[in-house]
Symmetry: C2
Subunit: 393 residues, 2 copies
Amino acid sequence: MTVEHEARGKKAMNTKTHQPREDVAAAKKTLSLSLDDLPDFVRGAAFMGTGGGGDPYVGRLVLINEMVNGGKLDIISLDDLADDAFVMPVAMMGAPTVMTEKMPSVAAFEAALSAAEEYFGRRVTALIPLEVGGINSVMPLVLGARLGLPVVDADGMGRAFPEIQMVTFGVYGCNISPIFITNEKGDLVTVKALNNKDGEDLARSVVVRMGGAAHIVCYPMSGRDVKKTAIADTLTLALTIGRTIRLAREQSIDPVQSLFDHLANQPVPRPTRILFDGKIIDVRRETKGGFNIGRIIMEEIGQSGCRCEVEFQNENLIARRDGAVIAMVPDLITIIDRETAEPLTTESLKYGQRVKVIGLGVPDIMRSPEALATFGPGAFNLNEEYIPLELLA
Amino acid sequence: MTVEHEARGKKAMNTKTHQPREDVAAAKKTLSLSLDDLPDFVRGAAFMGTGGGGDPYVGRLVLINEMVNGGKLDIISLDDLADDAFVMPVAMMGAPTVMTEKMPSVAAFEAALSAAEEYFGRRVTALIPLEVGGINSVMPLVLGARLGLPVVDADGMGRAFPEIQMVTFGVYGCNISPIFITNEKGDLVTVKALNNKDGEDLARSVVVRMGGAAHIVCYPMSGRDVKKTAIADTLTLALTIGRTIRLAREQSIDPVQSLFDHLANQPVPRPTRILFDGKIIDVRRETKGGFNIGRIIMEEIGQSGCRCEVEFQNENLIARRDGAVIAMVPDLITIIDRETAEPLTTESLKYGQRVKVIGLGVPDIMRSPEALATFGPGAFNLNEEYIPLELLA
């Protein structure tokens, strides 16, 4: 299913210097991102990150730095990806709480990618985000700009999830291994796991030892594999979500309503709900085992006393209103600022913030039995059976 | 300093089937070990393991199994090792408490060794123990017998130490990386660390995730490297220590005195001391972070009330008599049964056991400033300055 076996045995080319690769950069661009678009893009990515995926501000800074230094973004659609392309996802793995203090290192990503290329004896011809989120939808763009590699407008989650086996790539048969893990010091660990969950477990232990966040390259895939397993157009969706929120603000109209209209107008309309409207009265959060784990409790504005509780493991997993489930993974649960609709990551939530909790249903590819086995409620040790958002709220 | 750079770039041969390799097995044998010798050998290895290195009974069972199935041992002296040999140490890494329940897997060692050979594009031509101890001096013999590979009569510690950077190979310039780590399920993790302590830390996190014990192959070396850095003749020493204890028992003479006579008659005589004679009144032990950590408190037989405390991290680290230090790493501190002189591993110690605590000084190669920086008291966060056993007791 992956390119691993095809690629093995061919010996490594020189992987030391990366020059823009005009041959692979000739594909049709489908998404243009300028410096001015970045705030919208990372805002939308943070919305889709459902509380996880890292601080969008950090992601933006790293990408701005790359672009002002001459890096050119080249984002291609899934349709334009060649079947025989050699694609690898790149991501930060670890607790988002750590990633705001221990910044992603482009050199460390380059080292991981070089190790992958040396292992397969083959140049990577395109990158893809593992997930959409504040940092992890940006890092492939940073690396792509640095190396002259196109980035596919798609990802493996259509959102952010806490664990790296929780991707459609794996659900539909691609192998997580080898996973190349690097830190900013120059250590490199390669994991070849018997199955994708073992890969997550072993890589997580290494990431924890590396300080709680590290750089990974995994799921080696052919273009054909990616087309069969990825969630399409999610970078475009992130940009347009972020843009819709900003335009509504500028026009003094309700950003949530604008956003819902936008999501209803997608080629495949996405169900949306306002799950709760209130203020945060308690946040419990700890960085444990390479995750940011906890729960947020909100109370409705006014005298109703109605409460909402959201549990998270990096990302928001389940929302309950007075004890009754109103949304759960894999559907998106995103907490936004009540006035500006700015999405809030779990590590930034504070007592007293006035927020809305937004629910967004996922595409069908993420609701199949195989998909739910990998990132449905049971995968997070939640006892609830999955019920789609639109049937719950 | 290591063979890594010479060997890189040559491509892997078929490493799937291992046949006895007559070409490398032609070297002069210096140590003959029969099935009848095994109890003596593992007893002596456990003595040198200073409480660690794993249960000698487990080690013996695995080796007996290999030998009755036709495995032939071929143990060569350091002098007979070719300069251009490609030597790798193999060892179990983790908590000895775990290794008595999670048995070493020969297949997992083979997988780690195959990964190393594929990485270097070169067959390993000899094995060497990383340390001397109940399990870890035996596993290279088991693997050597299985694969038809000679095992060098030497090791990197002249005893057992808890961490894999604590070897003379590293002290005198050899690189721990890459470390190939496998479990019995088929997972493989490769660590390429910036320095040897990073290698230990990253490998340890993987071993903990693998259940607290795993199989490693590391420190790729040339024969030349091994000759420059290894402690010579330690397998022979283990056999003769074990034999001396047994013969003394059979002749009803004091095994400790016999042992001390034997150690004084080595080519380089080794200082020895009876550090304490008493019974165990308390054992504190926990399996934590991939180690078996704790302390033993003993009281002198009779009415003196004099006490001895030994702290351990897998291996015994420091012995104090009524608070005064009487021996410390890297000198060997071994607890033996008071009557039979059978060496006791830290995981087998119990309340009420009557024991003697024996001190054995290490060779000069292990007392240099570089060596003490790597495995002296400071390396274990002990505040004491190293003072040789013979100047303390």
